[in-house]
Subunit: 314 residues, 6 copies
Amino acid sequence: MKKKILQYEVGESVEVLLLIKSAARGIASNGKPFLTLMLQDQSGEIETKLWDVSKEDEQQYVAERIVKVAGDIQNYKGRIQLKLKQIRILQPHEAPDVSEFLERAPLTKEEMLEKVTQFVFEMRNPNLQRITRYLLKKYQTQFLEYPAATKNHHEFVSGLAYHVVSMLELAKSIADLYPTLDRDLLYAGVILHDLGKVIELSGPISTTYTVEGNLLGHISIMVGEISKAADELQIVGEEVLILQHIVLSHHGKGEWGSPKPPMVREAEILHYIDNLDAKMNMMDRALSRVKPGEYTERVFALENRSFYKPKFHS
Amino acid sequence: MKKKILQYEVGESVEVLLLIKSAARGIASNGKPFLTLMLQDQSGEIETKLWDVSKEDEQQYVAERIVKVAGDIQNYKGRIQLKLKQIRILQPHEAPDVSEFLERAPLTKEEMLEKVTQFVFEMRNPNLQRITRYLLKKYQTQFLEYPAATKNHHEFVSGLAYHVVSMLELAKSIADLYPTLDRDLLYAGVILHDLGKVIELSGPISTTYTVEGNLLGHISIMVGEISKAADELQIVGEEVLILQHIVLSHHGKGEWGSPKPPMVREAEILHYIDNLDAKMNMMDRALSRVKPGEYTERVFALENRSFYKPKFHS
Amino acid sequence: MKKKILQYEVGESVEVLLLIKSAARGIASNGKPFLTLMLQDQSGEIETKLWDVSKEDEQQYVAERIVKVAGDIQNYKGRIQLKLKQIRILQPHEAPDVSEFLERAPLTKEEMLEKVTQFVFEMRNPNLQRITRYLLKKYQTQFLEYPAATKNHHEFVSGLAYHVVSMLELAKSIADLYPTLDRDLLYAGVILHDLGKVIELSGPISTTYTVEGNLLGHISIMVGEISKAADELQIVGEEVLILQHIVLSHHGKGEWGSPKPPMVREAEILHYIDNLDAKMNMMDRALSRVKPGEYTERVFALENRSFYKPKFHS
Amino acid sequence: MKKKILQYEVGESVEVLLLIKSAARGIASNGKPFLTLMLQDQSGEIETKLWDVSKEDEQQYVAERIVKVAGDIQNYKGRIQLKLKQIRILQPHEAPDVSEFLERAPLTKEEMLEKVTQFVFEMRNPNLQRITRYLLKKYQTQFLEYPAATKNHHEFVSGLAYHVVSMLELAKSIADLYPTLDRDLLYAGVILHDLGKVIELSGPISTTYTVEGNLLGHISIMVGEISKAADELQIVGEEVLILQHIVLSHHGKGEWGSPKPPMVREAEILHYIDNLDAKMNMMDRALSRVKPGEYTERVFALENRSFYKPKFHS
Amino acid sequence: MKKKILQYEVGESVEVLLLIKSAARGIASNGKPFLTLMLQDQSGEIETKLWDVSKEDEQQYVAERIVKVAGDIQNYKGRIQLKLKQIRILQPHEAPDVSEFLERAPLTKEEMLEKVTQFVFEMRNPNLQRITRYLLKKYQTQFLEYPAATKNHHEFVSGLAYHVVSMLELAKSIADLYPTLDRDLLYAGVILHDLGKVIELSGPISTTYTVEGNLLGHISIMVGEISKAADELQIVGEEVLILQHIVLSHHGKGEWGSPKPPMVREAEILHYIDNLDAKMNMMDRALSRVKPGEYTERVFALENRSFYKPKFHS
Amino acid sequence: MKKKILQYEVGESVEVLLLIKSAARGIASNGKPFLTLMLQDQSGEIETKLWDVSKEDEQQYVAERIVKVAGDIQNYKGRIQLKLKQIRILQPHEAPDVSEFLERAPLTKEEMLEKVTQFVFEMRNPNLQRITRYLLKKYQTQFLEYPAATKNHHEFVSGLAYHVVSMLELAKSIADLYPTLDRDLLYAGVILHDLGKVIELSGPISTTYTVEGNLLGHISIMVGEISKAADELQIVGEEVLILQHIVLSHHGKGEWGSPKPPMVREAEILHYIDNLDAKMNMMDRALSRVKPGEYTERVFALENRSFYKPKFHS
């Protein structure tokens, strides 16, 4: 299989197909316009510069087009860059599907749906089960495609479902060890906690925040959705309130976006499971890019820490 | 008109009817039980001790009963106390209505309803007007009776409606001065911002938080109510989202209970109007209890500050 | 009337007179010096680059000179820039007055002075009135010309007086609604609260902080000025102390520059009025630069928030 | 089996043996001395007052003596109290062993030692295994007897070992789910992270901090112990440093007592496992004392939150 | 010489003269009034209770009266208390002077004045010297008598002058070691930094804050005084501004009461000298009350820390 | 003596030898690589650009080589830059020793060693003296060569020893003024407090953090070293614990890297001495680069403040 763009070393020459993620125009010191292109495939993204561009170039080299490029991998101020030798826009008929250039979860949609469905099946409280199934079905397509965030963690196609699947397995292990936990509340909380992101975010490609996402946020959106679902299903009972609370409080604190802190056992544990899975994901991604004996870049969402990769394993 | 309990000076003897607000049992150092009673009328509350109580006393002297008391006003560790000489429970047939002992807003329910209705009438945006009218009607009875809080500010019968009326007048003045403000958004925001308190709080007497209030809070409750109201009224449009945002963000910051900060002009101003009216209410109440040249007690909700009452006015 | 520089769209060609606000020298990658010029008229400012400059150019293109320029409006990394075709320094005899290029308050000095004078006239406490009138007269010229800040809010010619006029009107409305407020203290506080800025800042053009401004700040400066004014006018009384306190505490907290928090009713309200007017000014300016459905730039002094301009108004 | 002291309801009469945990002398308002005794058995502790005590009483009723008491369970200001009818000091020959009155872990020392030993046995890295086994053996007696803290969580006999056993099982589950984690580092970190408490704390009964505990803390103590152990065992290698770091950073932040934040994957995860197990323990203990539909007391170490026990389970 | 009240051990009987520092009335559980008296001599203060007091007693046992008492020293909840056997108010003719019961600085006023005068004499900058001498003379009487604070540090008669003398010696040592420091600025800053306390505080006995102290604070008061002094002495020059800045910034940060942080070398150093001397004073006082191997009470102004007194010195 | 690089004014031409501190490769807008060189001599460092470099150039112009350069001093965006005319790598045989280009302490190693030795000699407590002498000897070479930090303060060759010498003299002065301080503890604390930096840092040239430095920090390293030294010297006694505590707590707070705050008198004072000397060093260096009437750059480690250099001294 062909090497992906981030698998090349500095100094190597490449000739590959890449997707334009974004294009920004600048003026060089000689007064001529140039483009800064972010190019990507499934291994990640790389920056390149296209000098002395014409009006037509500016109209062609835009986001979501696929290009064939030849050039050299260089190190510029500690970051990898592509120094272009040749670049050409592929015509639609000759280009592969955009999805082939996007990073995605290591499991297929079908696998993830099956796993989640199995967990729903295991739930015993009919009220919690019905609400969970109803909302999962209502947003199933987006749930399986959306990333879990625009950056930080699980920021790839199907990242949301993948995050939920990992959390469900962690929830199961923890519920096995601590018998006072209500397994159904935990499972329902895990599945719904971030489901509001399918309204908060714009979609799996070039993900941004929607106006609703910016002004209300996925937490408030989903708390409202649970209330409507219960009305729709004519479910009355304290479970509805507790489930709303678990979703409401899963960021843990006011300054992190939860208007109430966890006040129910399963809410506190969901907050921990969410963090633990997100942090493992961020650490694994950062550490996969460095060698033993090196430090990762600082990771903003990990309190701006840099992590060390020990040498003694190698 | 008869003097109210807090209008007596230290050293004066009193003979009055009072409502028991709360009763707590203790054991004196001689081993005998006693009761600490909080007694109140419309001027506020005063503590007293009932020594050497019997089992029957404990069953009789409970919250929401009305008593006839005689005694002396004393100063105990800087706080006013009533030293009992005589006390007797009034029988239901001889006691006035409980409401006569409760502090309440300076306007009647009818006056406040009329004022609020007038503001709704002045709104021009039909979507905002219909949602506001719908929710006001749905919760009208409680809106006119509930306090605005269990303590801190407007913690009296009809405090919620009174707070809203003051804020509406302030909103009108501010909208007159700053023409970029959308008057309808401000009015709708003022009327609905705390309406969730009719679900968050238990009612106008011996007010506590409901479970829903503790686990979701009045902000999330009302954001959901607006969404349901719009569905019910088949209103679609950005106004609904903006109105939800204004309610959602009116505490200003995550650590104060708003999952999103104000991101729309009227949301920011509503936050200011709410604070300004609440703080005036707290300062006025604290300062009304001291003389010129004195300081108030520290007021927790005013960053624990003590306020000075200047002498030069007198 | 001719279009102002910020009224042109990207892509348009312009030919206008502009004032040089600042000029900074750089070295291009070809080793030759260039100048980065900030050019302004009353609509705001725009950046341009002047390449390959000579020693003479560097001496000519300096702050406060007026230039005639021709060029194109471009978008560079999300910011508007002017790409020069021609530029020429105007000789003093052919250039308009510098003041024609400066942004200024929407009211004239005369209008503002009349309004402020009217408020002083309405004051009833002779001590407060005399101190206010004395200090206003002492610094009248600067009061009418200075900006209210170097950036953030009311950072234009006569911004200080304009801020005071808006606040006076707001103070009047609030005093009408809350009868416990001392109207004279509020008016005196509003007029004097920022008057120390005429010593703290360098003046209306290219405004910077003076050494006195940096080392003492406008608050401490004005507290001292009130004390001297009272001595001068032989005024003795608690009003002097209270007025000093109101000025001293108007930033609200130690970390915002007030050595004491507001401890008098009018001090707390002045703090609110000041904030409310400043924030309206900042929001209005930021929102005036975007279209419905868009977000403003992040505004540092509004806790780095970005504001949304709703579409439903349009 | 006989009921324990905290299993009685308010209003019931009791006749039981209890251990004096502490005794404090006071002067009643009649001028006579009295004792406030904290009495305990394995269910927890209860306060009682002994009035009008003689010099001899004061010398007899001291910590660690066992008493036979008769009295009534009462509610005093919301807290359970014992109102004494009779009390008598048991002579050594008639009293049960002190250990019968102390709360302890639900597993025996032997069970816990076997579990921990099994985890050490499963470690594959010989350096980590040898250091862990060496330190565990050096402090084995105290490790199996000490509480994990003086208050907050696992504050009972053998609490330290019990906390470690729970964490080891959690670590195993998590390592099963996230294959990038080094299982040996996690196990060694779990076993050693709090082992310094055997020097920091005074012992299993009437636990206080030692001077070394106060001035250095268990983290710095154990980091030094690992260094000495490695010297002693002539182990050289990066594992030693990484293991020291994991212990050093397990409180997560400087303000929580770790001079360095976690900078290695397993250090971050250990911090989470430690927190999760401690919080489950605190929530379970607090919730076990309330009924469905009630709230727990505020728990200081859980950010002073109160937890709700849902009714729908019952 | 007779033992002072705090030099007695628990269990000893005493018969001494003491000054009443404060008297507060309470109601005992038998319904009778009692007084809580704080009694003091130069060694410190002790609490006692006077039971069953009459109206006349309440009028006699008031602050600043001197009493002859006999009783026993007792330990009540970890605090020393005096259990009264006899108490009698001394008549003015038989009582010693109040000053004999007040704690005071270890140097006489004359010694301190001489030392400060010597430092002023050594100053070389005539402007700084004249302002310092002028203000010192203006407030000399109070400067030599006032405490440096109502609590925390140097809270005894002449504490202000004593604090200044210690700081001057420290300033001299530091200026000897770091030649870039301007010795005159340091000396002037030390002498004037807290001089505003003679207006902020009520005086050396039963010290409280004045209204001016509460609303303006000693820092703003003294900054204004320096300005007036310079006007009076017709001194113009940057020294005046720098000296004002040094006083203004000596608390170091906004949240500690300085509207500007130190921005001049000597201002930063003055802040350190002030802290170092205050902290030594607090630590010495707290540690003087405990034995080797013990911890002090928590000291609020030392971030609520408790200090340990090592045993190895003994 | 020849002028050093930072002693030239903008506009002057220079011809000097300089040490390359670092070299970073970039790509110019013409597509050709260039190098950004940081060049230094004992007066400090200056940036320059080397355009259009070849592969060979990139291999030659690397850190720790010495170059002969000719060029002009320029001001680029407010920073001094060197515009190259000529540059040439010196061959080892023709180049001076690297040490001649490094900034170093104003005292020689011999002078500093003699001073420190004298202080050790004056210690009277044999345990503290022996531990101090032992550790000083163990790390003597590095102690005399290492900087005290990679940046902020004393970041030059022998900065660590120079910082210790200054602090010792300050400690002596303070111990002379406050007789309750244990002089030996202070001296031992000063000498050892930062000695762990010889393990935390990589050395005197191009100083970086070692892995041990990053993961443990100099404080934990030295606390462990003291423990081992005491074992080695068979010293038992509370002094060892107290000395460890003094080193452990010298950063003052958890968030500044000390797991325990100072809890012993000398620990608190050491923290102050350390800060005072570090801040004097930072202020002196920053102020030495500006003229009277100017402000320094913002200094990050001085809370990002800018300092003013008064004019009245000149």
